[in-house]
């Protein structure tokens, strides 16, 4: 059964739950989320504010480890891994793109892109070569010596994506990647995502934009922490939600 699972899916979430303790008691942000993601998919997660979209992305990114349930990443049972092992897994396989870019102000474009590689055991010469490739591929060679504050929002997000894919992750997670960009810039970024997806990168993006969602091939709907819609699974049982 496990072998079958690992062969078939890149990611499999089983009954994932996440809650926070608050003054008023326990607040649930994810409820019994079951989700299968196949290699090469381009998934869009949608839903109103507070639906649990970013929380789901954090779980997938292995940034959060306070959830309950089962998380399989290929043949790895993430739920059984220790924090350090999860971190290693994420470092190897996952890239993150943030809404507010999260570039480091004191580092140049080139240094920002190099950052994830600097945390890996990669010789400097090889890192330089990889960074040069990415700068070239994203057509930002001319900007490599600039600091983030010297770039436009679109250019900053381009750098953010370049940084996210420098180590060739198989899974790219993007949280509102165009949230701070105007439509022309947003379109360029989404085209880039499509291109990356076509090259084999699995992408999961969170967005409010229907236009951006249209770039994906599968859309998930979240509401109050429940997964209430999945275009690849029209039979997703609403009753489960109601029953709970």
């Amino acid at each position: 059964m496990i072998l079958e699972t690992t062969n078939k899916f890149m990611i499999q979430l089983k009954s994932i739950e996440r809650s926070y303790k608050t003054g008023a008691g326990q607040t649930w942000v994810l409820r019994r989320v079951n989700l299968d993601i196949q290699q090469g998919e381009f998934i869009t997660v949608m839903g109103p504010s507070g639906a649990g979209k970013s929380s789901l992305l954090n779980v997938l990114a292995l940034l959060d480890d306070q959830w309950e349930g089962e998380y399989w990443f290929r043949e790895d049972a993430v739920h059984a891994l220790k924090r350090k092992q999860r971190s290693e897994l994420a470092k190897r396989n996952i890239g993150m793109v943030f809404q507010s870019y999260h570039l480091l102000d004191d580092l140049t474009v080139e240094e920002n892109i190099d950052l994830p590689l600097s945390y890996k055991d990669i010789p400097r010469r090889e890192r330089q070569s990889l960074v040069a490739d990415v700068l070239d591929r994203f057509q930002i060679v001319a900007k490599k010596a600039l600091y983030p504050s010297q770039l436009s929002g679109g250019q900053q997000q381009l750098v953010g994506i370049a940084r996210a894919v420098i180590h060739k992750p198989s899974l790219l997670l993007a949280d509102e990647p165009t949230g701070n960009l105007h439509s022309a810039q947003a379109r360029e970024i989404m085209e880039l995502f499509r291109e990356l997806n076509q090259q084999g990168t699995t992408i999961v993006q969170v967005t409010h934009s229907e236009t951006n969602a249209a770039f994906g091939r599968r859309t998930l709907q979240l509401r109050d922490g429940w997964l209430v819609g999945d275009t690849s699974n029209p039979a997703l049982n609403q009753a489960e939600v109601s029953a709970s």
């Binding site: 990114a61 940034l63 994420a90 994830p116 945390y119």
Partner: protein, 808 residues
């Protein structure tokens, strides 16, 4: 005015709102202001305040000049020559210590006093509050036995009884007439413990006889300059007198004024010994105050950064920058005032601690008090501190573009103030290193000093001084018999392993030096050596080792051949490569007196201080000396606790004569420690300041790093999200803190090297650049800084990236 009240009210509310900040800042400022005020109150009367005499700047001390400008006590005839030939001085006086025993209705009491020439009080410019001053007719050989009492002695022993004038009191079994009482506030800086004075009554007519006490160099000379004569003019006149002997004042060999006179203002003379130590302590406390200011400036900067949106809003509403600065400085002044209130309390406790810690040689100790000058000092430094700590944060917080400030959160805009704060921490680290190196050098120095072998075994040794008084003790035989019987009584006590007595005790302040002239030497050649008139068994009781020959023993009878034991240093100096045994010399007494024959050589003993190797000494049996010493120090080696034997030993001595005063009862271990008291005093203060400075520096490092981590949360979150190992984050923050520390250490070491020469006079046996001390202090500071860095670094490494990324 209305604006000021508004500022004060708002400041009060602001400080009340941030209680943690306010308490920390007030505590740090209180510590700085309190320590500075305490030290100022101790240093002020000694170094800065004029002495409590009219025109005290005109009072000079005059010394007989020694080789290399050293100060040698003048002889009586030196004084007479200056008094007769000099025109620069209004008054001139000489004095020497006097310790008469006062007897009467009460228990006998040994008093501290002075024998002075007639003009002593006129030179100081002080008149008695009751009765009359000494007259020239009192100060003649065999003149009237008159005495002047201190106010304290008058109240203590005679009640405030005005009929004391003209009454007779008994001093050393002689009747003295009380002629005056000095004012209550009279402070006698030349002998602070003196309570009674009598005329010197030296002979002015025996100037041609060199072997008289009038040619003995054992006096101190004080003079009051004429109002129209400068110090330089007086000094020139003294030089001229020294260079041009006149027949009326013939000078014997050894008193030829070859090096002239040395004169100095009384205040400088009195404080000369302690000035380097006090200046060092004053400098140290200033550095501590500086660290406290830097610390609070840092706190205010951090707070200012948080308040920039508020200040920007005020600017947007029309407040001028100067108005904002005034508001912020009002707050820092208010903080400083609260700090001052706490500081005054700390200072009052500090002054009490200082007095109890201070070495006996510290002059004007009883003048240390909380007076107007001290309050003025506290007020001034409070105002200065209030402005100093407030100005940088106020300038910084009030700068910037209001629109940007209002729209941005404070964490993003704090980069500039972080740089200032890091610079301040570098300063803090360097200053604390400076203080710690000072403390380290002195600690090292004191250890070296206390490990200097004194030349005897000071463990289990009790000492006490026994004085004789009364006419019957003028008879040498009676005096010798008393001390020998007292010694026998002591030796019979259980618990006493050995006992002896000596005319002067090492490390007790005694200093009795005679010239030894060896047989065959030219009459011009003499060897200055400490003279010890001891009982048999002295060396055994003290544990002084015999190197050659034999000790003095009971077979050396009073009327037998005169024998002496000399110290190794004297033997090596006088008889290098020769056997000193059997050699003979003359010491003390008339020239025709029998010579002493050397029968033994013993190890050197430190007499005046562990730091001074003045070890040339001659030991003779007390009964073989030219006269009977009326004061002897008993040394008792105990089998167990030496101090516990004191009462039974006193009883044993009093069993021979119950009227003889016993004073200075101390264990030899205490005497050894007391001999290093000044260094110990400075060390304790430096250690305390160094410790507080280290603590403040560590707090500063922690505060800056902690603030930096808060500002860098987003960055740290990104790094973690991009796969940075937590160890990497820990190292990153640690590195940031340690760079600041290392910079501070480098600057501090350079500063310490430059400043260390100021400590040279306080050090013993080590270089002011002692590498071990520097390395040790740097390691200590790095360790403490490491801990201070580790806490925020650990917090950064433990950050949840998810939370960090959301943080803004």
């Amino acid at each position: 005015m209305q604006g000021l009240i508004q500022d004060l009210r708002f400041s009060w509310r602001q400080l009340l709102k941030s209680r943690g900040f306010t308490l920390t800042a007030v505590a740090v400022l209180g510590l700085g202001i309190g320590a500075s005020t305490a030290i100022f109150s101790a240093v002020n009367p000694i170094l800065f305040e004029p002495l409590p005499y009219p025109h005290s700047d005109r009072i000079m001390m005059i010394w007989y000049g020694g080789e290399g400008g050293t100060r040698v006590p003048p002889a009586f005839h030196n004084y007479r020559e200056v008094a007769a030939r000099g025109r620069s001085y209004e008054n001139l006086a000489v004095m020497k210590p006097w310790t008469p025993a006062l007897t009467g209705a009460d228990q006998p009491e040994r008093l501290d006093g002075q024998q002075v020439s007639a003009d002593y009080f006129r030179t100081l410019g002080i008149e008695p509050v009751l009765g009359r001053d000494f007259l020239n007719s009192d100060d003649i050989p065999n003149g009237p036995k008159v005495a002047i009492l201190s106010y304290g002695l008058w109240r203590r022993r005679f009640g405030p009884d005005r009929t004391i004038l003209g009454r007779e009191i008994r001093l050393d079994d002689n009747a003295y007439t009380v002629i005056a009482v000095m004012p209550e506030k009279f402070e006698n800086v030349l002998s602070p413990t003196a309570e009674i004075w009598s005329p010197l009554q030296y002979d002015t007519t025996n100037i041609a006889s060199p072997l008289t006490r009038e040619w003995g160099h054992h006096l101190r000379m004080v003079a009051r300059l004429q109002s129209d004569v400068s110090k330089d003019q007086a000094q020139s006149e003294l030089a001229a007198i020294a260079k041009t002997p006149v027949p009326d004042f013939p000078r014997p060999r050894g008193s030829s004024l070859e090096y002239g006179f040395v004169s100095a203002q009384l205040q400088d003379d009195v404080t000369r010994g302690v000035k380097p130590a006090l200046l060092a302590v004053f400098g140290a406390v200033f550095l501590l105050l500086l660290i406290a200011c830097v610390n609070v400036t840092n706190l205010l900067l951090e707070r200012g950064a948080r308040r920039r949106p508020e200040l920007a809003m005020r600017t947007a509403l029309g407040a001028a920058r100067s108005r904002l600065i005034r508001q912020l400085i009002t707050e820092s002044l208010m903080l400083a005032l609260f700090g001052a209130v706490l500081g005054i309390l700390i200072a009052q406790a500090g002054v009490r601690a200082l007095i109890s810690l201070s070495p006996a040689e510290l002059p004007r100790l009883h003048a240390v008090s909380f007076n107007g000058a001290v309050f003025a000092f506290a007020f001034v430094i409070t105002m200065v501190v209030g402005v100093v700590v407030g100005v940088i944060p106020a300038l910084y917080a009030s700068s910037g573009e209001p629109r940007a400030e209002i729209s941005q959160s404070s964490v993003r805009i704090a980069g500039g103030q972080q740089r200032i704060r890091r610079t301040l921490v570098v300063a803090e680290v360097s200053i604390s290193l400076l203080l710690l190196i000072g403390a380290g050098l002195m600690l090292h120095s004191l250890r070296r000093l206390l490990s200097v072998p004194p030349g005897f075994d000071h463990a289990h040794l009790l000492t006490m001084q026994v004085n004789t008084f009364g006419r019957r003790y003028d008879d040498n035989t009676v005096c010798h018999r008393f001390f020998e019987q007292a010694l026998d009584a002591v030796r019979d006590l259980p618990g006493v392993q050995a006992a002896a007595f000596t005319s002067q005790l090492p490390l007790s302040g005694d200093s009795d030096v005679y010239g030894a002239r060896f047989e065959g030497d030219s009459p011009d050649v003499g060897y200055a050596a400490f003279r010890y008139a001891v009982s048999p068994g002295y060396f055994e009781a003290m544990g002084i080792p015999l190197l050659k020959g034999r000790f003095i023993d009971s077979s050396d009878l009073a009327n037998g051949p005169k024998v002496a034991v000399i110290s190794e240093s004297l033997a090596q100096r006088k008889f290098p490569g020769q056997d000193p045994l059997g050699k003979r010399f003359h010491m003390g007494g008339p020239p025709e007196s029998p010579l002493f024959t050397i029968v033994g050589v013993v190890g050197d003993v430190r007499q005046t201080s562990l730091a001074i190797a003045d070890a040339e000494a001659v030991y003779v049996r007390s009964t073989q000396w030219h006269w009977a010493d009326g004061t002897q120090s008993f040394v008792i080696r105990a089998r167990g606790d030496a101090a516990a034997l004191a009462p039974s030993i006193k009883r044993a001595i009093w069993s021979v004569d119950k009227d003889q005063p016993i004073v200075r009862v101390e264990t030899m271990e205490d005497l050894v420690l007391a001999s290093a008291a000044e260094r110990h005093f400075v060390l304790v203060l430096f250690e305390a300041f160094g410790f507080v400075a280290l603590l403040l520096a560590a707090t500063g490092i922690y505060g800056v790093l902690s603030g930096s981590v808060t500002e860098r949360i987003r960055e740290i979150g990104v790094r973690l999200a991009l796969g940075a190992p937590r160890a990497n984050i820990l190292a990153m923050v640690m590195r940031q803190g340690m760079i600041v520390t290392v910079l501070g250490v480098i600057i501090g070491v350079v500063g310490a090297i430059a400043a260390s020469r100021l400590l040279v006079s306080l050090l013993f046996g080590i270089s002011p650049l002692d590498p071990l001390t520097y390395i040790g202090v740097v390691i200590l500071l790095m360790l403490v800084a490491g801990i201070a860095c580790w806490v925020p670094a650990w917090r950064a490494a433990r950050l949840d990236p998810m939370v960090a990324l959301r943080y803004e």
